[in-house]
């Protein structure tokens, strides 16, 4: 193992490998920054090219693109309030307000440092802890997935900024959107309005683009000049990367917590970067001294979101490489590549073909380090491009890119249509105070919860009360208790507030 680690280290320092990694990270960065182009897509597109490469180089290219694209999503999240990939949903919450306060560069620099740290943490966890962590991943069965999804849904309360009712409404809209198409368990078609093309349902990315991009574009167009606010345009700011780094590292609790959360959630099969970053964000807010500042431009929000989603890149490889369980959607493609090269997930991967596997893992660490120079240079470029482009160019070009991106996703015009309809609806919902995050959360987690519930109850078919299967294991009981606690801590302040509010006028009565 140690000798193969050393050999792997030497192997990735080969100039060709270094160059592959650099090109991969750069390409990933730009793909990730474009709304509609996801990490999964980037990997799928790259796949054929890696066949002509030696196995190690192919894997390095895929790892680098993966790392770069998850990070790249932060740019558009911060600059135009649009997550470039689903993993950056939570980055928009504080990133965009920061940009509007003239702190765009500070936001990007924070995202960069958080991503580098997150990436390195994920790689370290993969190298040192793969076997024990893999055992933990296996513990998540249908019942546990149900509780995890419910735990995620309690986030709605903290995302709804002010009105719980509006947040819940948004969450319900999302859950309903998620029921369109063929049922994950049972196979019947639901709410397709007789259109065969609707059997595929509403793809998360399509909803994401529609709900985040279109309302932003419409309000840009509506307010004409204020589109990219003057403040965002300020390129020269009195913040240096060093001072941003100092701020993050002198208060490391948030960073450490987010990395741990990122690693743990990454182990849960099927929960990708979108779930990791949302959970980390919520915990950052919950444990903060000043939770009310979240959503208004608190750097900690960006750090939580961006560190945890980059932990996920290598972190989700733990169950993949050791057990053959893809921890996140893009991992399925990596699994395909491994099989193509005759590499079978399992502990052999670390012993018999250790040099290759360790080379792949180390190269992800290299990719994470490369984010720093590439991100800061490429970031300047993207920021400048967004900021310097006049609104009347920017709006149509973003619209064009999003339409192309949406179409490219599944080669479907219907997706484009759904995107535009959801976007327009999203614009009006936003005017009513129902924002995109709870809707997207409902869409992501509704399906996971449904599936976990049905599968768990099915496994209890032989019991008198099949629902008991939901609390059969200690882990599922712990998770169920967490759900109740989380819901209570979210509801309690609001309840107290209301009691206070109804009490205070009472003396006058």
């Amino acid at each position: 193992m140690e000798s193969s680690l050393y050999e792997a280290f030497v192997a990735i320092l080969d100039p060709v490998m270094l160059l592959t990694s650099l090109v991969g990270v750069t390409a990933g960065l730009f793909i990730g920054a474009l709304p509609g182009l996801t990490a999964t897509m980037a990997l799928a597109v790259l796949l054929p090219f890696t066949f002509s490469m030696p196995p190690l180089q192919g894997l390095i290219a895929l790892g680098a693109v993966y790392m770069g694209s998850i990070y790249g999503g932060a740019f558009t999240a911060i600059l135009i309030n649009t997550p470039g990939t689903p993993s950056s949903i939570a980055t928009t919450f504080d990133g965009y307000p920061m940009a509007r306060q003239g702190r765009a560069y500070e936001g990007i620099a924070s995202a960069t440092i958080a991503s580098v740290v997150g990436g390195l943490v994920g790689v370290t966890a993969l190298l040192l802890l793969a076997p024990p962590l893999a055992r933990l991943a296996v513990a998540f069965g249908p019942a546990e997935m149900f509780w995890v999804a419910l735990l995620g849904l309690t986030l709605v309360a903290s995302l709804s900024a002010g009105s719980l009712l509006k947040g819940l409404t948004g969450g319900c809209i999302g859950i309903m959107l998620g029921t369109i198409g063929v049922a994950p368990v049972g196979g019947e078609t639901r709410f397709t309005f007789g259109l065969p093309a609707m059997q595929g349902g509403v793809e998360l990315i399509v909803a994401l683009i529609g709900l985040f991009v279109i309302p932003e574009i419409l309000s840009m167009a509506a307010t004409v000049r204020g589109a990219v606010p003057e403040e965002v345009a300020k390129l020269r700011q009195n913040v240096s990367i060093v001072s941003v780094a100092k701020r993050i590292f002198t208060r490391p609790v948030n960073l450490i917590r987010s990395c741990i959360i990122g690693q743990l959630v990454a182990l849960v099969p099927g929960a990708g970067g979108n779930v990791t970053s949302l959970v980390a964000y919520n915990e950052a807010r919950r444990f903060s001294d000043d939770p009310d500042s979240f959503g208004k431009g608190n750097v900690d929000g960006i750090v939580a979101s961006e560190s945890s989603n980059n932990v996920m890149v290598a972190g989700s490889m733990v169950p993949l490489l050791t057990l053959g369980i893809p921890g996140a959607p893009p991992d399925a493609i990596i699994l395909g590549v491994l099989l193509l090269h005759g590499l079978r997930p399992g502990l052999d991967l670390f012993t018999e073909t250790g040099t290759l596997t360790n080379g792949f893992i180390l190269s992800m660490g290299l990719g994470a380090l490369l984010l720093l120079p590439v991100g800061l240079l490429g970031g300047r470029l993207i920021q400048r491009a967004v900021v310097r482009t006049p609104v009347y160019f920017l709006v149509p070009s973003i619209v064009m890119v999003t339409i192309l991106g949406t179409f490219a996703l599944r080669n479907s015009m219907l997706d484009v249509l759904i995107m535009l309809v959801l976007g327009t609806a999203g614009y009006f919902l936003r005017l009513l105070g129902i924002t995109a995050p709870p809707i997207v959360l409902g869409l992501i987690l509704g399906g996971i919860a449904e599936q976990g519930y049905v599968q768990a109850v099915l496994t209890g078919a032989a019991y008198e009360v099949p629902q008991l299967a939901l609390v059969k294991n200690p882990l599922s009981i712990v998770l169920a208790v967490l759900v109740v606690l989380s819901a209570l801590t979210a509801l309690l302040p609001q309840w107290l507030e209301r009691r206070g509010a109804t009490k205070s006028p009472s003396p006058r009565e």
């Binding site: 065969p196 059997q199 079978r344 599944r410 032989a462």
Partner: protein, 318 residues
């Protein structure tokens, strides 16, 4: 003179027609071929198409572009293909049994029909495999059957999706052995290794591929092929154990109806050659290579439609 001219021009015209017809024959394919996979990247269909791509390109001499059109367990891609694809042979789509048989029976409007295209070939098959965890109490299929006989619904078998090959084979086993087990559908093969290793189900009815992948973590109790699968020599077939279950997932490609026979033949040969070249890589993964074409392909579809039809309709009326 005039007549001669007329004859000559007719001859020339005829010749040019025949030349162009002849060259059309020789010219297929004239341009790039679009190979649609109606599933997400990363699955067996996608991985196989990636294996094939490079060889098809070499043999056919044109680019082969793989694109994905996932949704509805394949139905979205298939309905779009049957409605829109040009019958020139330049648009081909991956097809899967039992999906193309089961969906049109089960869904009021799946958007396509089982026979609404020309099947070029079924190039391989992945037989179903009944796999239990290494530490399972069950050492053989017989033990599973007798336990299930005494404890109805207590044996839980995970598989990929509802009315997938895995599900249908589970239903066939229930009929053949007269037992009642509980089938737990998952979203594809991806989550199944975790379900098996985590002990969330008693076992899984999946494909031989996973049996190979989980070699040291699971026990393959039976496979649903005619003969033993070379990658799993120790696993008996259902038939050996007394249950007449032969099936699994067949993967192939189809072109639109009315595609010229020459194009179909050219594609068929290309896939057959490709198959030979990639067999060495695919067999150890648990695939069984086949080359079922023309009438044989239609016959296979009909035969399995008859086998699955009553099971599906019985489920439908439940």
């Amino acid at each position: 003179m005039k007549a001669q001219l007329l004859i000559a021009s007719v001859a020339i015209a005829a010749a040019s027609v025949s030349i162009s017809a002849g060259s059309a024959k020789a010219d297929f394919p004239e341009g790039p071929i679009t190979y649609t996979i109606p599933f997400d990247p990363g699955g067996e269909s996608d991985v196989t198409a990636r294996f094939q791509e490079q060889h098809l390109e070499e043999i056919l001499g044109v680019n082969v572009n793989i694109r994905h059109r996932p949704g509805g367990g394949g139905a979205v891609g298939w309905s779009e293909f049957q409605n829109n694809a040009e019958p020139t042979g330049h648009e081909i789509i991956g097809i899967n049994i039992p999906h193309i048989i089961a969906q049109p029976i089960l869904r009021e409007d799946a958007g396509y029909t089982t026979d609404g295209w020309e099947i070029v070939t079924f190039f391989h098959q992945t037989p179903n495999a009944l796999i239990v965890p290494q530490e399972s109490q069950f050492e053989s299929l017989e033990e599973v059957v007798s336990y299930a006989d005494e404890n109805p619904q207590a044996v839980t078998l995970g598989g990929s999706g509802t009315f997938s090959a895995n599900h249908l084979e589970t239903l066939r086993l229930e009929r053949e052995a007269d037992i009642d087990v509980t089938y737990i559908p998952f979203t594809g093969t991806g989550p199944l290794p975790a379900a098996l290793q985590g002990g969330h189900v008693s076992g899984i009815m999946n494909y031989t591929m996973l049996g190979v992948q989980l070699e040291d973590k699971g026990r393959v109790l039976a496979v649903s092929s005619e003969d033993r699968v070379s990658a799993l020599p120790d696993a008996p077939t259902f038939r050996e154990l007394g249950y007449d279950i032969v099936g699994g997932a067949y993967r192939g490609v189809a072109v639109p109806e009315d595609t010229p026979q020459e194009a179909i033949d050219t594609l068929r040969e290309a896939f057959a050659k490709t198959n030979k070249r990639i067999a060495e890589k695919q067999r150890p993964l648990g695939f069984v290579m086949t080359d079922i074409t023309g009438d044989d392909a239609d016959e296979l579809v009909n035969q399995l439609r008859e086998a699955y039809g009553p099971i599906l309709e019985a489920q439908q009326s439940n």
